[in-house]
Symmetry: C2
């Protein structure tokens, strides 16, 4: 029986607007005034509900990769499964900008970088450990993350033409062999 406060609506509107701005322009270029305007409320409400710009940012950084149980995936399909999952995650729900927020901000903001490392340590590394065993997991997961983040970087943030233009399925076919080589060790 959670008491439904009317303000929850406003609060989520702010968070939604904040995610959009942070995802599109990064931490420093995003102003509280702009977020408030998007949410159609006064800037001071942002402070009341989130305390400060930093805390608002922190709330916008919540990310769940929703990785499936990789231990249940046949080794041969592992590379393609990984690429496909992340491509879908990036391109799936346009309203779910959390991943973009994290990556874009982590490059210039230490707070976001720390969160990135945390997501890696608590979500990526363990998931991969279930598939290839704990010994090689850390190192291999690092290299896998490098390749997947490299894809996201060049496709969604830099928009390198050859990478940005590729249809999703070509991405899977193009990167899966490379991932396979890394996973094989």
């Amino acid at each position: 029986m959670t008491t439904p406060r009317r303000s929850d609506q406003t609060k989520t509107a702010i968070l939604r607007a904040a995610r959009e701005r942070f995802a599109a322009h990064g931490y420093e270029r995003t102003t509280i005034r702009a977020v408030a305007a998007d949410a159609e409320i006064d800037p001071s409400m942002v402070m009341r509900y989130f305390g400060s710009k930093e805390q608002l940012f922190d709330a916008a950084l919540a990310v769940d990769l929703r990785l499936p149980d990789l231990g249940a995936v046949p080794a041969r399909q592992l590379p393609a499964t990984l690429v496909r999952h992340f491509v879908e995650r990036w391109e799936g729900d346009p309203a779910d900008d959390a991943l973009l927020v994290l990556l874009r901000s982590a490059v210039t903001n230490e707070q976001a970088a720390a969160r990135m490392r945390e997501v890696f340590a608590t979500q990526v590394a363990p998931a991969l450990a279930a598939a290839i065993g704990p010994e090689r997991a850390a190192r291999t997961a690092g290299l896998v993350a490098a390749q997947l983040l490299g894809l996201a970087l060049t496709r969604y943030l830099l928009a390198l033409p050859p990478v940005a233009a590729l249809p999703p399925e070509d991405l899977v076919n193009g990167l899966a062999p490379a991932l396979a080589a890394t996973l094989a060790g």
Copy 2:
């Protein structure tokens, strides 16, 4: 016989300080006042010599990857050669921050992103075309760039522990097979 103006010294001091700041903190967090303080001159001098913060930034973005003639490299050694070249390029001369400036800023600054695409189109893609032929060059170069930039991202910007801790030679051994798979197509 270029007349050696005394101000050239100051100008390069400014550019050097600007590169350091841009590389460490990105475009928006870098202030002209801080750059001027590092160069031990007045902020207004920065304006006089470079016109504006944007133009100073533009000057700091000049990058030469110094890629060797990849057509002369045996196909088998191509992957390792590429990884080694870039790792050395990143870690070689600490005073040469241009690469870091470019990558760090390109994520939140469209001007830098455009420069990144330009560097890719004029330096990376042609160099690779010399090694694997022009037909597959663009697409393959894109995927190669994704992997190499992914490495730089996770190692130098995000500092993901497993990637940042790897000795350079392990990076080469770890990523070369993946690159080989991509190059093989």
